[in-house]
Assembly symmetry: C2
Homo-oligomer: 644 residues x 2
């Protein structure tokens, strides 16, 4: 069968299942990527599993998110991660080395490989002919332990690119065009594969921009072939031997088809407050702004900064615009410095920040209240910038810089000078000195984990009992989000590495007394309506209630990721067979489940005794999931699996 | 009479009084400096006074403190300050231009001038043959309105410098030697004047280091003559015409005498957690560290970064040390970039931060818990770094960098390479493009103030009563700093323009229950030991407790600026006549003051009834200060003054 690039990547890593869209498959994982905001939990999970050394070809831990150190918690986490990386045979990229995605691409990007990352923009590595997928922390922990990654086979969406981009239009406008056409859920259940003659004019870093922000379409990932552009990139970073071509077979087809004529793409901009609100820049031109922001994994390349530098060289940004420059990696910052671009940016009035994610994730650089901020970042959800009344636009470096110069939103084609000719250098600085390679096992096994006072080991969870008697502590409505189960925000997030402490905030927005009641009751259940656990994928929303004794959630329906997270941490998710039973049950009543193990193994229903009589509940679990659940979650399952 | 430099400066600006140490004097002020942490309050005060345009030769507003933007509050303040500067005829230095002190020196430093700044390190400009004094915001507001500055004539402390510094020893070690000899209150009531043949080897920026950190001795200010070094500096920044010589007369004398033989100075370090805990570096050598930090107004010069860059060039900082580089001005960062030093620092593993005060004031870069951090900053008060269990050492760039390389505290003389020969460049980049000059009055009068939602009016304070009955809410030890009275850091500083909100953090490091108790008690007193209110000049340390009902502080002694701030906002500062009374009094007891107004006007003592009987307290106030105090502070006084 003639295969496209995505199919070739999946076929080469298929551990279970068949490549039929919608069917469950499992993929072997070659590489993993973790960052500091999610990595501490991953490392604590690996500690709990008792893993000595990762089983992947490459696992890399980046420190790029929590770079503002207001107190000891962030630097303590950095030290913990460094010690965990040293102990587990993981590459460690220290604070200041930059954002995971471009750094990973430079050092480890390799055609034909799979990458699983605990960051939603992991698909950026699709630029290198890799299959790169974002996942929850414990999924990445499992991959580091050598387990395959489970998902449903996506559809493959072929996007044919023709011709080449005009002056002042760049890769960011291509992905904005995709978002303009399809919105923020247009890619759900799909892998986007770019192909066609238009690829010839897109460098590997341009493709990174497009693959990265494919996450905003809801796609599983995006892939590009490994062609000349990828070979050029690898050659420029001194890794020509890591190149191998990977292209679609002659006659390969796609499940869905799309064409973009690059010559017709214009400068685009996503208006507040969704990456899907895309319009031509000229439609909003003339509005004043107070901030122009370049950088982030959605425009990380040398070119993306160099073109801004050439545009402002000898000119001056508007007095009323904060022009925030966020280098994306140490290597790129060094190269920009060497080549004089940093000097041009500074002279024009830029604020030069340390290399990292920074304002893209609300880590500083919040804009002034109710004023326009133009950013090259991938997301502009309301308040993500840190400012509650924010007005964040997403655009290319060309548009952001043109607008900084004019003090008004400006289509770069309307500037009074010619587009600077800037490419990626053939001799970039590749800073390998500040990336710490895995220790040999003889040394790593002696490394002790360094835990600051806020880093607590994961609590151990015992297997679920065969006979349960559980008080229903909460009865919740439809559409409860993980933000209501486990709030985020400044007050809570610092405790991300401390389950006992973060558990104090569980269900706070739903019922301020839940935590106290849970401490009194011990093991308990909650009931909920439809779409329970929608929103953020944070696994704390399963771990922390489990820590407080939550053993069973009965709902009319579950959001997919939270449902998986509950199983992963040993909480049984059950569905009402009849909505009438939801209506009849009340908080404070008792659920009794008897012979639960057998019931889960033998069928898809469980019977609960309640004050209203027997109630039928459904579980929807695969046999593997039943096994995981009966063990008390994936960590226990892994321990037995490994030891047995 | 033969005069020294300090006397000449005072004599030329004497508006009231005589130059007899201890007598009240008033000085005309040529220049003012405000920064963003204190400046919003200054601008609100000027707005309240109805000022149209500043009356000084130069007033400059810097944005250097609150650069981390977690939400809209900081950028809203920056915009408010920019609009206020435009309205009032004030120079505006935007975020990213760097720390006020080196920036002011480069653009406005001028021999023979007086400078009043709402920042305790304003004395740095003493390096230029200026009389530069730190003061509370409202004193600076008064100076901007053309009022003279009131103080007591200090003693002049002549410090003769002989010979020259040895290799690896630099200006920071000179001021650390002063602190080693005299501690954190050794300069109280004094101006330190440096003279002698040792000056020849100290550049203007070296002198900046020494004058800046003279604040840590409690000195009113430090002065240097305007000699060849000052002329060279002004010539290098293109302002040769602003030079005029200013040297002590032949035969001039000092009130106090001191000699430092520079040849005998060794690398020194202040241990946690006071700038006065100074020991030779070799005494603590070998201890591990997790952070080395260069920058801040206490080591702001090109040389201070260039020597670090030359030391690490082609080398690597320890894997376990965060090497934080904080450029102090845009111009210096541009020059370091041009000259290749930024590249050397990055290649060695530095984290390069935006130009500004940053971690020096707890604005990010907090160290890991209970680990050593070596910093070139001027202060290491407990918790100032942001980490409660911090261990911050103060040292030269040479010592910080040597320690970063080794991963252990290291005397730079013990390195295995020669000291790099680095000076200040004769052709520094002087970035004037990003400094906004005052608008002509025809334009400025049309500018509207831009106020974000967090900028609140000043609370009104009623005059102090004649009979007071006050519970003592706190009994504090010696050397309580304004960081303990009104903490800074990123949690607190965003509320600097909002007194009711910032008051919630008052005395937090001393007693977490103070705010609650103050709400319960209403009007109250606190007692303290020596040197109460040392450190930062922030007037919030007076206004916010006053807002909570603080009416009287009784201490064994006060730091000058805080003492003045208390008076300015209507809080009565009293001194124990006998230290035994401090020992006898306890928190929770009651102070009764009767016939207070008459007592203050008639003499220098006040009698308090206490459970231990009558206690004699001294007030040290000038008649003008008594008047201000009885009005309820300077704003009330100004309103009556202007209206009457």
């Amino acid at each position: 069968m003639a295969m496209n690039v995505a199919q070739k990547l999946i076929d080469a890593h298929l551990a279970q299942g068949r490549m039929h869209p919608g069917e469950p498959i499992a993929l072997t994982i070659d590489q993993t990527l973790t960052q500091d905001a999610t990595g501490t939990m991953v490392m604590l999970e690996l500690e709990a599993m008792g893993l000595d050394r990762v089983k992947t070809e490459v696992s890399a831990q980046y420190v790029d998110h929590n770079l503002i150190q207001e107190d000891n918690k962030n630097p303590d986490d950095h030290r913990f991660l460094q010690s965990a990386a040293a102990r587990l045979g993981v590459w460690f990229s220290r604070a200041g080395n930059g954002v995971s995605h471009p750094t990973h691409q430079q050092h480890f990007g390799k055609p034909g490989k799979t990458l699983l990352g605990s960051d939603s923009h992991t698909p950026a590595a699709g630029s290198m002919g890799m299959l790169a997928i974002g996942a929850g922390g414990i999924d990445v922990a499992m991959a580091m332990a050598g387990e395959p990654f489970h998902l449903k086979m996506p559809e493959i969406w072929g996007v044919k690119l023709t011709n080449a981009l005009p002056d002042w239009v760049s890769a960011k406008d291509v992905i904005l065009e995709m978002l303009r056409r399809h919105g923020v859920d247009g890619g759900t259940g799909r892998i986007i594969e770019y192909y066609g003659p238009g690829l010839a004019s897109l460098s590997a870093m341009d493709r990174h921009v497009i693959a990265n922000m494919g996450a905003e379409l809801g796609a599983t990932t995006s892939v590009f072939p490994a062609d000349e552009a990828v070979r050029d990139f690898l050659e420029s970073v001194g890794r020509r031997d890591d190149f191998s071509p990977l292209e679609a077979d002659e006659g390969a087809d796609y499940d869905v088809h799309e064409t973009i004529d690059l010559a017709n793409v214009v400068p685009l901009i996503a208006r507040p407050s969704s990456p899907g609100n895309v319009v031509p820049v000229r439609e909003v031109a003339g509005e004043e702004l107070t901030q122009a922001y370049i950088g982030s994994s959605a425009n990380p390349g040398y070119r993306d900064f160099a073109i801004a530098a050439e545009m402002v060289k000898g000119r001056q940004v508007s007095d009323w615009v904060s022009f925030d420059v966020n280098p994306t990696s140490r290597s790129i910052l060094e190269t920009l410095t060497r080549d004089g671009h940093v000097l041009s940016l500074l002279g024009a009035g830029a604020r030069l920040h340390q290399a990292g994610c920074n304002g893209c994730i609300g880590m500083g650089q919040a804009p002034a209240n109710d004023t326009n901020s133009l950013r090259t970042v991938p997301r502009n959800f309301p308040g993500r910038s840190g400012t509650r009344e924010d007005r964040v636009f997403l655009c290319s470096p060309e548009t952001a810089t043109a607008s900084a110069l004019r003090g008004k939103i400006t289509d770069p084609r309307d500037l009074d000078f010619d587009v600077p000719r800037v490419g990626n250098p053939s001799d970039p600085i590749v800073d390998t000195r500040n990336l710490m390679p895995p220790l040999p096992q003889s040394e790593s096994s002696r490394v002790q984990l360094i835990k600051g006072p806020n880093i607590a080991s994961l609590p151990e969870f015992e297997p679920i009992g065969d006979d349960l008697e559980l008080t229903i502590l909460l009865k919740m409505a439809d559409d409860i989000s993980t933000d209501e189960i486990m709030p985020a925000g400044n007050e809570v997030l610092p405790y991300r590495s401390n389950i006992p402490r973060i558990a104090d905030f569980c269900f706070g927005p739903v019922d301020a007394d839940y935590v106290g009641h849970a401490h009194d009751s011990g093991d308990h259940a909650v009931i909920a309506g439809r779409n329970y656990g929608q929103g953020s994928s944070r696994e704390h929303a399963a771990i922390a209630p489990r820590y407080l004794g939550l053993r069973v959630v009965v709902a009319k329906g579950f959001a997919r990721i939270h449902w998986q997270n509950l199983v992963n941490f040993g909480v049984l998710p059950l569905r009402f067979d009849s909505d009438a039973d939801y209506d009849a049950l009340e908080a404070g009543q008792t659920l009794r489940l008897s012979g639960l193990h057998q019931a889960l193994e033998d069928g898809d229903t469980v019977t609960a005794e309640t004050p209203q009589g027997a109630v039928t509940l459904r579980h929807d679990l695969t046999p593997r999931q039943v096994e995981v659940l009966l063990e008390g979650g994936l960590i226990n399952w892994m321990k037995r699996h490994r030891d047995g």
